[in-house]
């Protein structure tokens, strides 16, 4: 009954992203377009970085294990840098798009703000990254077998699903942080995003010691979540009010 593993891992990896999509993105066609375009930008960055890695691998000796591992590390780092570069390019594109939307609108302001675009772009990057991480694993999860005959850990599917979930969240928060840094000319925010991305990708080299990759990633995700929340206009006060209001069930007080 490995249909159970298939659906379990799908829901773990894509459940939060699906709920984000359904409730915040699906109603607005403009957001959907930005989502898809963001996914496409991530895809192009992956294509280019995999091309570089592929050429490097074919040009080198396949039997040299240390060299191949070194090339893999180089490939991953190069891919991270290229993804962030494409995030920057996408920011530039969306800035241009806002000018166009302002020109087309009736009341002189854009129907969508750059912060909302940042969030949707992040979700787009995250979804495509998650899809590439997870889809071929899910296809093999459908078969009767589980990982382990060559000595690998049995928890391979579960940990990959959790890693994908955290990566989707991280891309969302990095989108918000990155665009905020570009918008307000705070380069240290951009550098922080790049460093966090490098750290998370680098931690996956600890696998199959899964505690070495999942724990740091979740910690970084919590940090990025808090930072993104604060940058988006949240505060501890708002959070308390949200929690108390939903507990007491009283009607919320509109913020000024």
């Amino acid at each position: 009954m490995t249909l159970a593993v298939f659906f379990g891992c799908t829901f773990i990896a894509f459940g939060p992203a699906l709920s984000l999509f359904l409730f915040t993105i699906a109603r607005d066609p403009l957001r959907i377009i930005i989502l898809i375009a963001g996914a496409f930008f991530w895809l192009v960055s992956l294509l280019l970085s995999s091309l570089i890695w592929f050429i490097a691998v074919k040009a080198s000796d396949p039997r040299d294990e240390a060299l191949q591992r070194g090339l893999l590390i180089f490939g991953v780092m190069f891919s991270v840098l290229l993804q962030e570069a494409f995030r920057f390019l996408y920011y530039k594109l969306l800035r241009k798009a806002i000018e166009g939307l302002v020109a087309l609108s009736e009341d002189g302001c854009s129907p969508i703000s750059i912060q909302q675009m940042a969030y949707v772009a992040g979700v787009g990057f995250g979804l495509m990254s998650g899809a590439f991480s997870m889809i071929n694993l899910l296809a093999d999860a459908l078969g009767p077998g589980t990982v382990g005959i060559h000595g690998d850990s049995q928890l391979y599917f579960l940990t990959s699903a959790f890693m994908t979930m955290v990566l989707i969240f991280l891309h969302t928060f990095w989108g918000i942080l990155f665009f905020h840094g570009c918008e307000n000319r705070r380069w240290w925010e951009i550098a922080a995003v790049v460093l966090m991305h490098l750290a998370v990708s680098g931690s996956t080299f600890w696998n199959p010691l899964y505690v070495g990759s999942l724990v740091p990633s979740y910690l970084l995700m919590a940090a990025a979540a808090v930072w993104a929340y604060l940058l988006s206009g949240g505060s501890a006060q708002n959070l308390r009010r949200f929690l108390l209001c939903s507990q007491s069930g009283a009607s919320p007080q509109l913020a000024s």
């Binding site: 159970a4 379990g8 939060p16 709920s19 969508i112 000024s256």
Partner: protein, 705 residues
């Protein structure tokens, strides 16, 4: 009516789910992707057991359409079976059976239980000493000459059981897949996986994850030939893209005459012909594994050597009677080749008629002679007929006289004993022809591995010294080759006398060097330099696998091609024609195209160069179709002609992997559903109260988060 089993109607959303699954699968199904390599170990060197059907039954094995999976259990002694049949806590089991336990008793126990999902048999090395034959005790019963109308006391092996070791398991119907593991390394990998994960520790059952195996061998045809041919014709009539479910077993018979005859005309009624016959096919429990060393190869190699020897006589063109060397295909399956030839002769579709046949000599299993004795079997029923008796007596005397001086003692098997299963029986059904069948056994077969995978060169005592290169092994003359060459010499001399020759027969001698090369090529390595030099240039790709002689459904098989070209090489002559003339003999003058067959063969490799010197061979070798008359007459349920068909299938493969416990899978699913539900609820609340959570000063009218 659909050919495949009908599936129940599914709701529409299932189609969407299938589409999604297909998309997901397409993404991950690239050849050998790394996650798949982490999970599965494919077993590459396996042979399946496939389904064969005849007019009334189906035999063989079947798996479900998406493969059968089971937890591996290694059975090396009979007590291990109890775990599978009763004690084991994780049924169904996939059994890895030691070759010595592959017998009827164990298989019938496995057939009766639902705790077995498949069987993988490892080949026993050395051959099981007690003998092993999955064929019937009475081969081709009911399709020979003995029936309730003709010699009823001899029918159904009442007098002599030919194959007493026969267990008949090839002719049983199993509903689980059975595979043969040919590679000892793969068997060791499976046993290692079993030792690591499946062995019970401390008396309790083994714990998950367990090592499991999956076998795919889904067969499309069911029930019988009648059903599957009917479904074929329905598919062909009504479907745009017809799906055939089974194919008749068919191939080609190879025949050649000593004096050339017009293959498209008819031979005069007065001209008499002596037919020499052997079979060239064999069978075993598993598909495409049929080494047939004693049951087929020994006889046709002797026949080929005898043909070469007879052609050395100086006055072949002056002989009174002609000799036809015939090699029948499909004899294992109720005499496909010989029944077709008899049918063609009766219906005037063959250059010869039954009236032309003067006598019949057949060679059957001649390699395991006890001492130097070769037995001559005759038909006791036609012995009662005076004229036939005289002719048979004459035949036996000529044979005995030809063995003078050779290390072969011919003895008569007895007038109260019926004929062994042989192609001669089909000819006797049509006409009382005098004939004899030569074998190395008087009553029961000497061959203890009749129609099994153990009928290998070791069975006919072919031994080579150590350390020889392939070329040296090709040329090394074994004792078996010498023994078969003696038999061939006796047969050739007898045929010369039978055909009316009066001269001294000392020149008629079979060459042991040719015999040993043929034995090497047909039993050990088909891709050798001699075979390479005698075949057509565009056929050189067919050589290369381990030699086996199953009749199969695509024709001609390698064996038929090679017998044809070897016969052409041994009995034909080299003619000085160019390639165009050889390939189109009508254009060249003086070729007498109706009498001869011209073949452009690639020739041998010069030792110093890489090119070959091709040449043209003229011979009297022809092929005729060996398809059972039941399929020509469209009588699928015929009890008179062979109705064997082989089912079709889509994929046959095997793999091993680990399976996780059901608890872990359910936990994964529950966690996934919990995360999905929680994230839906959380996102809904955050979205609904977004204006509370995010307080950015903005102009009225802007869209909130």
């Amino acid at each position: 009516m659909a050919a495949a089993a009908g599936s129940p109607r599914l709701p529409a959303w299932c189609g969407a789910l299938r589409g999604l699954l297909l998309a997901v699968l397409a993404a991950g199904s690239c050849h050998g992707n790394s996650v798949e390599r982490k999970i599965y170990i494919p077993l590459n060197k396996t042979a399946p057991c496939v389904r064969l059907l005849n007019a009334t039954h189906q035999i063989g094995c079947q798996s479900s359409i998406s493969g059968d999976t089971g937890v591996i259990h290694v059975v090396e002694k009979e007590e291990d079976l109890n775990w599978v049949l009763a004690d084991g806590p994780h049924p169904p089991y996939m059994i890895l059976l030691d070759g010595n336990l592959f017998n009827r008793k164990v298989l019938m126990q496995l057939k009766g239980t639902s705790r077995v999902s498949g069987l993988a048999v490892s080949i026993a090395k050395p051959n099981p000493p007690q003998g092993f034959s999955p064929g019937l005790k009475c081969p081709n019963d009911g399709f020979g000459v003995y029936s309730k109308d003709y010699g009823p006391q001899y029918a159904h092996c009442n007098t002599t059981v030919w194959n007493p070791l026969g267990s008949g398991i090839s002719y049983e119907d199993f509903d689980f897949p059975i595979f043969l593991l040919e590679d000892a390394n793969e068997t060791q990998v499976i046993k290692q996986c079993y030792q690591d994960h499946n062995v019970p520790r401390d008396g309790s059952g083994p714990e998950y994850p367990l090592c499991a195996m999956q076998l795919f061998s889904h067969m499309h045809a069911v029930t019988s030939t009648v059903t599957c041919m009917r479904r074929n014709s329905i598919q062909n009539t009504f479907s745009i893209n017809p799906e055939t479910v089974c194919d008749p077993l068919l191939d080609y018979n190879v025949w050649s005459t000593l004096q050339p005859i017009n293959s498209s005309g008819k031979v005069d009624r007065e001209k008499e012909v002596i037919i020499v016959a052997t079979r060239i096919d064999s069978h075993s429990f598993f598909w495409n594994i049929a080494p047939g060393a004693e049951s087929a190869v020994s006889s046709f190699v002797t026949h080929l050597a005898a043909a070469e020897a007879l052609h050395k006589a100086s006055d072949v063109h002056l002989l009174q009677r002609n000799v036809m060397f015939t090699f029948f295909q499909g004899e294992t399956f109720d005499y496909i080749g010989s029944s077709r030839m008899v049918y063609d002769m009766e219906k005037d579709k063959f250059p010869l008629r039954l009236d032309n046949i003067h006598s019949f000599v057949e060679l059957n299993q001649v390699a395991l002679r006890n001492g130097s004795v070769l037995w001559m079997h005759t038909d006791p029923v036609s012995w009662m007929n005076e004229s036939v008796q005289t002719q048979v007596r004459n035949l036996l005397d000529i044979l005995s006289n030809s063995s003078v001086g050779a290390n072969v003692t011919l003895q008569e098997a007895g007038y109260s004993q019926p004929l062994p299963p042989s192609s001669f029986q089909r000819f006797l059904r049509a006409r009382h022809i005098p004939g004899v069948v030569l074998t190395d056994h008087q009553a029961a077969f000497q061959n203890r591995y009749y129609q099994s995978m153990y009928d290998t060169p070791e069975n006919i005592r072919m031994q080579y010294p150590e350390g020889l290169s392939p070329e040296e092994t090709l040329e090394y003359v074994t004792d078996t080759a010498k023994s078969l060459a003696e038999v061939a010499t006796v047969v050739a001399r007898a045929l010369y006398r039978l055909a009316g020759g009066a001269n001294n027969t000392s020149a008629i001698q079979a060459d042991p060097k040719t015999v040993t090369r043929m034995l090497y090529g047909f039993l050990i390595k088909m891709n050798n330099s001699w075979f390479q030099s005698i075949i057509k240039p565009d056929l050189k790709g067919i050589l290369g696998d381990v030699p086996q002689h199953y009749v199969a459904v695509s024709s001609p098989v390698n064996t038929t091609y090679l017998v044809q070209y070897v016969l052409a090489n041994l009995t034909g002559t080299v003619v000085n024609l160019t390639k165009e003339e050889c390939l189109n003999p009508d254009k060249a003058p003086n070729t007498e195209k109706e009498l001869y067959d011209y073949a452009w063969v690639q020739g041998s490799l010069d030792p110093n160069s890489t090119t070959r010197v091709p040449y043209c061979v003229r011979s009297t070798v022809h092929l005729t179709k060996a398809l059972s008359p039941a399929f020509e007459l469209r009588q699928w349920g015929s009890t008179e002609y062979s109705t064997w068909t082989e089912s079709r299938w889509k994929e046959i493969r095997a793999r091993i992997f680990l399976v996780a416990s059901k608890e872990l899978e359910i936990i994964t699913l529950v966690v996934g559903i919990a995360i999905l539900v929680f994230s839906l609820l959380a996102t809904h609340f955050i979205n609904a109260k977004a204006d509370v959570l995010f307080s950015i000063p903005r102009d009225p009218g802007a869209v909130a988060y």
